[in-house]
């Protein structure tokens, strides 16, 4: 799985199971954590088998990305637009969570395809809620209008206590990510990965992709940003998004990809480290085999004939 998937498999599985088991089945009360500090808590009680209560906790926003009532800007409207009557927002949210929804399975459309589409959409709650401000900015871009923040960097949350910046303009939107990693090895691997992004963009096949740049120091687009956001140990990545990347059906996919860019790079850095460990273990085995060949046959015979218990006896 190279790309990160938008619908959460955990939620999708539970929703499908609930639909299949209709009036039978047991009470469900499950919690799970996803990457970047997003927590889900889903509850179903047999007294109301058609109703699921889903609570979502979002990553802690840093100071520059202020949130309105604990949710990103435009989240509530986005939820209402995406789910319609199937989902109802409960206010106040459950303790320890930022958002609680009541999902009424009885109100799902009867058409199989539409039902699956709505379930998929519910499982993508993360994209809907966290991506709401980004979606608004990019929708403005596709309609070639600008909101009040034209030319100024807007801080949006994608990781706990970290934000990325979007500079909306009439004809393009510049997205800047300060990349930070905790481990020193991660930093070096991520830097080489990010430089590959720049190289890959230069190939002819990807001419229509957003322009991609990497620099060690903060780029000029971030001039209005607060100081704390300008330190990044793996450099700054800049994408220039054009209206053609956000028209029609592409908008959702673009929002998800931009929202989870840092998580994507981090995921692949970790995969790369895991692969290196596997390789190194294999190489160690090969070398030990080479060393075994160096042992004389007399030694090998001795080792085969006398077991470890025999040696122990000799020591005493």
């Amino acid at each position: 799985m190279i790309l990160l998937q938008s619908p959460s498999r955990f939620l999708l599985q539970i929703l499908h199971d609930r639909l299949l088991s209709q009036d039978k089945g047991v009470d469900i009360d499950c919690q799970t954590v996803e990457f970047d500090d997003v927590r889900y808590h889903i509850q179903v009680s047999m007294r109301n088998p058609k109703v699921l209560v889903l609570s979502v906790a979002l990553p802690l926003p840093p100071e520059e990305a202020a949130s309105f009532d604990g949710l990103p800007f435009g989240a509530i409207e986005a939820i209402k637009a995406a789910y319609g009557p199937v989902v109802q927002i409960l206010d106040p949210p459950k303790d320890g969570f930022d958002l609680t929804l009541k999902i009424n399975l009885a109100k799902l459309p009867s058409d199989e395809e539409q039902k699956n589409a709505i379930l998929l959409q519910i499982a993508s709650i993360r994209e809907v809620v966290l991506g709401a401000p980004l979606k608004i900015l990019l929708k403005n871009l596709s309609m070639k209008t600008v909101g009040p923040e034209a030319g100024q960097p807007v801080a949006l949350v994608h990781r706990p206590n970290e934000s990325f910046f979007v500079v909306p303009q009439a004809d393009k939107a510049t997205v800047v990510y300060p990349m930070r990693f905790l481990d020193s090895i991660d930093i070096v691997l991520a830097t080489s990965f990010l430089q590959e992004f720049v190289e890959a963009r230069r190939t002819a096949a990807l001419n229509n992709a957003p322009a991609c740049m990497w620099s060690q120091s903060p780029p000029p687009e971030l001039k209005g940003a607060p100081e704390s956001a300008l330190t990044a140990n793996a450099g700054f990545v800049t994408f220039v998004v054009n209206p053609r990347h956000v028209e029609g059906k592409k908008l959702d996919r673009t929002v998800w990809n931009l929202l989870t860019f840092h998580a994507y790079v981090s995921y692949h850095v970790k995969c790369s480290e895991g692969f290196m460990h596997t390789r190194m273990r294999r190489r160690v085995d090969t070398l030990i085999q080479a060393l075994d060949r160096a042992k004389s046959d007399a030694e090998k015979l001795k080792k085969m004939v006398t077991g470890p218990s025999f040696k122990k006896w000799f020591v005493i």
Binding site: L3, L189, S192, P210, M280, K295
Partner: protein, 255 residues
């Protein structure tokens, strides 16, 4: 005190170092030819005169050996490689030089400790008695890669410095060599911590030589060195390939 052998591209670098302790090479057992003459390096390619034209592809081997009668022998090997040769040539020469040095140096015998009764310690690690330690040999491929071979009567210590061109190779080499050093128990001849200034070290004692065939042990050391280089370059390649693939997949999403 160090015999300095340098393999260098285009330049001949080598120094003859005078040994201030000539008695070091007079060992207790003169009958063993290996001990009285520390190194008789035999080049695998025959002696060639220096009048070989520079356009020829084979490396020119300038070989001069000075024998100081009565005391020690020091030799220096100048390998001036013609400018057309590729990096692949130098690694072969470097490894051959190491192999020949090891073949000459690995003459180990059991030697109980002189200071403490009933103890048997690897003398190269202790470095206490000058009559038991032989001249160390430093073989340099270039400024970044070198190999130090220190011999004593019952043990030999081989330390290597691996080439690290950029930041990525640096961390890959460090990670891989730490991985190997932690498994020193399984390797038996590997030292848990490298000697100061080097990346990885081996310690071979007379017991290892008794258990294992000497030529196979040397094969193992040389193969180990080759494998490290190969592994680090393959790891770097895999990181770059993965980076390219990841970037392409991501950017394709926008088209």
């Amino acid at each position: 005190m160090v015999n300095f052998i340098s393999i260098d591209d285009g330049r001949a670098v080598g120094q003859e170092v005078h040994d201030p302790h000539p008695h070091r090479n007079q060992l207790a057992n003169p009958s063993n030819p290996c001990e009285s003459i520390p190194f008789s390096l035999t080049p695998t390619s025959p002696l060639q005169s220096t009048s070989v034209p520079p356009s020829s592809r084979s490396p020119r081997l300038n070989w001069s050996e000075q024998i100081d009668t009565g005391s020690s022998i020091y030799s220096h090997v100048l390998l001036s490689i013609s400018k057309d040769s590729t990096m692949a040539n130098t690694i072969r020469l470097y490894l051959t030089c190491i192999r020949n040095t090891l073949e000459a140096a690995m003459c180990l015998q059991n030697f109980p400790c002189q200071e403490v009764e009933r103890h048997n310690k690897p003398e190269v690690e202790l470095n206490t008695s000058p009559e038991l330690i032989m001249n160390p040999v430093l073989i340099c491929r270039n400024e970044a890669e070198k190999c130090l071979i220190e011999t004593s009567i019952n043990s030999i210590r081989i330390s290597m410095k691996v080439k690290q061109a950029d930041e990525l190779e640096n961390i890959l080499a460090k990670k891989f060599l730490r991985f190997l050093s932690m498994r020193a128990e399984a390797f038996q001849v590997l030292r848990r911590k490298p000697v100061q200034g080097y990346d990885i070290s081996f310690l071979i004692t007379n017991y290892h030589c008794e258990e294992m065939h000497k030529h196979k042990l040397i094969d193992f050391i040389v193969q180990f060195m080759e494998d490290i280089d190969k592994e680090i370059s393959e790891l770097k390649l895999s990181v770059n390939t993965r980076g390219r693939l990841v970037a392409t997949e991501f950017l394709k999403q926008f088209i």
